[in-house]
């Protein structure tokens, strides 16, 4: 199998946009192609992610539309949908297409637009990513899924609402350093703790926002990547799935798909958690970051809350997590998120992250979770 590198990244500002998902992606993709320093015509395929376009924009068949708006109307395109892990799944498949020798240069990414519909509609559309037979009729929401996880984690390990609030405060602080972030404003512990409950024990400020945005990555085979100024190599990328049903999870205080995806990615990369310098992980809710830092092997089970409280995961801490602001502050356009996380890690490993740069970062990890903790992707990246 051939080595594969990221040679270009592009991300729109995250927040509210008047442009369509396909337009947002095309803009990010053009930025990524220019960043890669290649001719647009060098792109041989598009692997595109979007989740709710059918509901929010009456737009399906969005991959060829995005390619058309980009100005590459004849390349083969594929649309991916795995809930919030969508564009990380697209990324993994593109890596395999290049590694196999079938293509040399592939454009990957995604876009989402939900701020054009009311919050209750967006909540409903996102809930379509849970099971429609048992879970949606019961009125389960995504904050509800993670609230069930949070409660189980609190009961099992003594994790507190205050520890969860520390994750929100930290990611908002990081977001102030990211000009593309949806929120660039610090918040206090008190603001989080006094915000209204959305699904007990999760409060408004434990939840990431609804976001519009697009993100794109240019992947290239080693022969092409070697000509690039600073290729960032994919050391490992692994996918894991767990039962869709919340009631079938063996332990609600864990995300076993994260643990399995991480083990696969570490094995492929020949790396250990201790060798990771910077992490972008799926903090759709504060508890999700705590559980992920445990499942990825950075902290012992049950100590993720303590890690947040002690500042170990802050910029300047022993393992900076979500320097971009994470989903919590940077925003979470679900079809774009996986690609945006990879773009941040690439920027960090290039040493181009400015005020949020993790000094000397040479190995980075991205973790993206989809739906009821059913789909998880973990990838590891390194520089020359």
């Amino acid at each position: 199998m051939r080595r594969v590198a990221v040679i270009g990244v592009g991300v729109t500002k995250f927040g509210k946009h008047d442009r369509t998902s396909a337009e947002l992606f095309a803009q990010a993709a053009a930025d990524a192609i220019i960043d890669a320093g290649i001719a647009p015509s060098a792109v041989q395929a598009l692997y595109f992610g979007n989740v709710t376009g059918g509901e929010t924009e009456r737009q399906l068949h969005m991959a060829p539309l995005a390619a058309t708006l980009l100005g590459l109307p004849t390349i083969p395109t594929t649309r991916f949908e795995n809930a919030c892990a969508t564009s990380h799944v697209a990324f993994r498949h593109a890596v395999m297409e290049i590694a196999s020798g079938a293509s040399d240069v592939i454009l990957v990414g995604g876009a989402e637009r939900v701020l054009n519909v009311p919050t209750e509609s967006a909540t409903e559309f996102f809930a379509y990513c849970s099971d429609a037979s048992l879970e949606q009729p019961a009125g389960l929401t995504f904050p509800g899924v993670f609230a069930l996880i949070a409660r189980a984690h609190m009961d099992k390990y003594g994790t507190t609402e205050e520890q969860m609030a520390h994750v929100a405060v930290k990611n908002h602080r990081h977001g102030t350093l990211n000009p593309k972030a949806q929120f660039q404003k610090e918040i206090s512990l008190e603001t989080v703790l006094k915000s209204a409950y959305v699904a007990d024990p999760l409060k408004l400020f434990d939840c990431c926002p609804f976001t519009d945005g697009g993100a794109a990555i240019v992947l290239a085979a080693e022969e092409v990547a070697r000509r690039h100024r600073r290729p960032i190599w994919i050391l490992g990328t692994h996918a894991a799935t767990d039962t869709m049903f919340v009631h079938e999870k063996r332990d609600l205080a864990r995300v076993t798909a994260t643990e399995r995806a991480a083990q696969g990615a570490y094995r492929q990369a020949g790396k250990t958690p201790a060798e990771v310098d910077v992490v972008e992980l799926h903090d759709c809710f504060t508890i999700a970051e705590i559980v992920a830092t445990e499942g990825l092997g950075f902290f012992e089970p049950g100590t993720g809350g303590l890690a947040a409280e002690k500042g170990w995961t802050s910029l300047g801490g022993k393992l900076p997590v979500n320097p971009s602001g994470g989903l919590k502050a940077k925003g979470h356009p679900i079809g774009a998120t996986g690609a945006a996380q990879i773009a941040e890690i690439v920027t960090q490993l290039r040493g181009e992250a400015g005020p949020r740069q993790v000094d000397g970062a040479s190995t980075g990890l991205t973790h993206t979770l989809g739906g009821n903790t059913a789909t998880v992707l973990v990838s590891l990246f390194g520089r020359d």
Partner: protein
Amino acid sequence: MTERVINLKSFFEEARAGRLTGIRCGRCGALAIPPKEFCENCQQREWQPVPLGGTGTIVSYTVIRVAPRGRGGEVPYAIVVVKLDEGVSLLGRAVDIPFDALKAGLPVRFRPLELQSQTLIGFGPA
């Protein structure tokens, strides 16, 4: 065996009548809800329907205060994950249990719930 012994439709028809039904693997004895094709445990396809008693204890719970479209009139409502006495778990809506009484380990009993002409899994006091 190619026909499922029960499917989602019959699971909910039974639930509507107050009967909770799972499936038991004829090979290894594993229990499952909802019906599926292969047994995750032993890879066989030899299911038998099994009536469940409907009693169990809460594993985790949350009170939903921001609902999806169409359910705004129902908030606040509690969702519970319940481990049934037979060992298999199920998610449903808490019914007639004060929110401040919800806790892991609380005994509950299945009861069907009709909302918006749809049958839901409900759990009330044991």
